[in-house]
Amino acid sequence: MTNNASIIRLLVAKDWQLFQKQLALYVLAGIVALCLLALAKPWAFYLGSLMLIVVVVAAACFSISASLMVERKEHTLAFVMSLPVSPWDFTIAKLLGNLVTFGVPFLVLCLGTLGTVLFTPLPDGLFVYALLIFGYVLFAYSVALSIAMTVESEGWNTFAMIGSMVLINPFIMGLAQIDAISSQIEQDAIVWSTPAVAILLTQVILSVAVLGFTVWHHARKPAFY
């Protein structure tokens, strides 16, 4: 399958141009959240961590919704598909576009969080904990993105997106139940317990697998309709 490299690049650049302003705002809000975290006071911590999670989750939803669902609703999809692209090119361009437009803020906030943990009075044990939460967001994002790329119904997409993100709550509670992880949070050292490593690896592998499967599935479509 030949890749229409130049057009794919242009389409990715187009998505970046379209959404960079909004995503910059999310990053800004995330930085405010990090500042709150850095104060290392209990009230600031709760507020900051809540805000951070909301910002990251909202950015993920925005990225998927804007690039895929809105395109369908606003019928700009027809315009893109009238360009010399095959369904495969389009799939790749959307995937890369999303990874870039969400991935960049995601990385910025993830690294920012980890940096905040390390370089402030916050206990370093939060490092692994935070990473696991970001890992969950990555996984939920992959699932929601895959569903958005495959299913046309706006209702199902919204449900998948919000549903997978909202499950972050049970996930966090579940983490608290695992002794090996919860006991380390208050410590001022980075400890990679086996459950933590296992969970993180699972998150990454599943994310890649879900996206990989979706791309493979789309490769078999001869035409859009």
């Binding site: 229409n4 242009l10 019928h75 700009t76 027809a78 009238s82 010399p84 001869p222 035409a223």
Partner: protein
């Protein structure tokens, strides 16, 4: 004859609609008008021609490329604009022009500027603020400025005010100057089709009702007014599409007029008073209502 496109034995099935047994061709350098009621299958047909949809049966060849396998190569030379197509509302027309220019090397900047002037569009305005007519013209500009070999247009003049409509027709007829460029446009507006099309294709209920050059359509159909009373079985004649009694007169619409018809009618006691040609709109409505199959 190089064919701009050719469809043979096409079928496409959707849950509530099916396109069946379509075979159609457009020779290079011609304009074809596609006429049909809403839901007749015009949009589906256009999608098959742009490679956006794959047929369930049959073969689609456009500009020498088989679709949908070679859709990328074909779309390089196809300009497609449809009624339900939208541009990115937050971006300017200039942004879209730059995007298209980067993708299509054949973009003619001078011609694009000329079209901006003729269509009275502001390139620096955000597309979201365009009226319906401006949006249609903007889409057309983005197609025309790259001088594609085949233009596929879904309802290009629908919903346009009279001034915008003339602007679009003038821009479309400029394409005529190049005998290697072809156009297929679907329209409700039979006047546009009657004026600009070389070939006319009628679509109804997913089937091809008729496809012929415009002159033979206009030659074949006649409105005949006779004096007398029409016998009940006159409606059964295959050459006649509709028969209507109106007082002492009978109005007949014939789909296959020939010189023998007045005599044959006279033998039934119907004296032909006048024979007129029919406008395409009348032909279309009569053909659909009489369930015409050529």
């Amino acid at each position: 004859m190089t064919a701009a496109f050719s469809l043979s034995g096409i079928a496409k099935r959707y849950p509530h609609f099916a396109l069946q047994d379509i075979s159609l061709q457009l020779p290079e350098g011609q304009i074809m008008g596609l006429v049909g009621v809403n839901g007749a299958g015009k949009t589906t047909l256009l999608r098959l021609l742009t490679g956006l949809a794959a047929p369930d049966a049959g073969e689609v060849q456009v500009l020498g490329h088989r679709l949908p396998e070679e859709q990328v190569a074909a779309k390089r030379d196809i300009g497609f604009a449809s009624e339900d197509m939208r541009l990115y509302r937050s971006q300017t027309l200039r942004w879209h022009m730059t995007l298209v220019q980067r993708i299509f090397p054949a973009w003619d900047e001078t011609y694009a500027d000329e079209l901006l002037r003729r269509f009275d569009l502001r390139a620096e305005q955000a597309v979201g603020g365009f009226s319906h007519g401006q949006r249609v013209k903007a889409l057309l500009l983005l197609c025309l400025a790259r001088r594609p070999r085949l233009l596929l247009l879904d309802e290009p003049t629908t919903g346009l005010d009279p001034v915008a409509r003339i602007e679009v027709l003038e821009a479309l007829s400029d394409v005529l100057r190049d005998e290697q460029r072809s156009v297929l446009f679907s329209s409700h507006n039979t006047h546009d089709v009657e004026q600009l099309a070389d070939t006319i294709t009628f679509l109804h209920n997913g089937r091809l009702v008729d496809s012929a050059d415009k002159e033979s359509f206009l030659d074949r159909w006649r409105r005949v007014v006779c004096q007398g009373t029409a016998p009940a079985d006159l409606q059964q004649w295959p050459e006649l599409a509709s028969v209507r009694n109106s007082g002492s007169l009978v109005e007949i619409k014939a789909r296959h007029w020939n010189e023998q018809l007045p005599d044959r009618l006279a033998s039934l006691g119907l004296q032909v008073q006048r024979v007129d040609s029919m406008a395409l709109e009348d032909i279309f409505v009569t053909a659909v209502r009489s369930g015409a199959v050529a």
